[in-house]
């Protein structure tokens, strides 16, 4: 079991190493002549107005929040998708109930969002 994961650990090592090497190459070989306009954040050639880190639309938090919930839904579905032949029709209806409840939740949020604010109507973003 652990043997199957072992190549993945090796691959993690290799890819992290590769990423560092790529980063170092240009850091070592590229020139370094910084000056003030170059280091300033780009804002179409003007002096930046204010700080970039302001509060942003709550829609982004909602996306992350809803993502967690429906990600969990998918995680719960996978074990069933693997074993549904053995588990039989009884669990099919159980999973239907599970999916129906969550889909109702999804439709509720979509309806609410289309009325008030939304992930689908984040205008200022």
């Amino acid at each position: 079991m652990f043997e199957e994961f072992f190549p993945i650990f090796v691959l993690i090592g290799i890819s992290v190493f590769l990423a560092f090497v790529l980063m170092l190459i240009s850091w070592l070989l590229g020139p370094s002549r910084p000056n003030a306009p170059k280091l300033r954040p780009y804002e179409s050639g003007m002096d930046p107005i204010g700080d970039a880190k302001e509060r942003y639309s709550i829609s982004f938090y909602m996306v992350a929040m809803e993502f967690i919930v429906f990600d969990l839904e998918i995680v719960f579905i996978y074990p069933w998708a693997v074993r549904y032949q053995e588990l039989g029709f009884g669990t099919f209806w159980a999973v239907m109930v599970f999916l129906t409840i969550l889909t109702l939740g999804l439709f509720y949020t979509l309806k609410k969002e289309s009325k008030n604010f939304s992930i689908s109507k984040a205008k200022q973003v």
Partner: protein
């Protein structure tokens, strides 16, 4: 080889956990926590609990920490705010109390050391696969599974309502 990996991952896990607590920049803390989650997933692979290992990455590192990071990044927290500005009396007391709790916890765990089953990869290998989890989840734990659906829906609807309330306040 497995022992080497255990030591490596443990060091990583403890190191990142400490770094998370110590680092002053909250975004750095969150990123260290992501690394910590990943090393915990490494432990699960060592224990042959493969389903848990990937779920640990998928749900904790890939979903929950993203929300944390969003919140931290966009709430515009002041980076210069010191965690410990100056040691005052209150902090001294809380530190002592924390030590007491830690001692108690260690003492209790010590008492139960003999009772705990010897954990090795073999017994977990039988229950750690997706197949085994599927069989258990959809027979023995069917009711909790359904209740989870209601819980998750409640979470979505609740978040929705909270967000909505704020937006109404802004509108008015």
């Amino acid at each position: 080889m497995e022992t080497f990996f255990f030591v490596f991952i443990s060091t990583l896990a403890i190191g990142t956990a400490l770094a998370m607590v110590i680092s002053k920049n909250t975004v750095n803390s969150a990123l260290f926590m992501v690394l910590h989650m990943l090393s915990v997933a490494g432990f699960y692979t060592l224990l042959n609990a493969q389903f848990l290992a990937v779920i640990q990455i998928l749900v904790y590192a890939g979903a929950i920490m993203v929300l944390f990071l969003f919140v931290i990044m966009l709430l515009n927290l002041d980076e210069d705010e010191k965690v410990v500005s100056k040691i005052d009396f209150k902090q001294l007391i809380s530190f002592t109390l924390a030590l007491v709790v830690l001692a108690q916890l260690l003492y209790i765990t010590g008492n139960y050391a003999g009772v705990l089953p010897e954990l090795t990869g073999e017994p977990i290998a039988a229950v750690g696969t997706v197949e085994a989890i599927g069989d258990e989840l959809f027979t023995t734990f069917l009711l909790p599974f359904e209740v989870t659906a209601i819980l998750l829906t409640a979470a979505v609807v609740g978040a929705m309502l909270l967000a909505q309330k704020t937006s109404n306040v802004i509108d008015e």
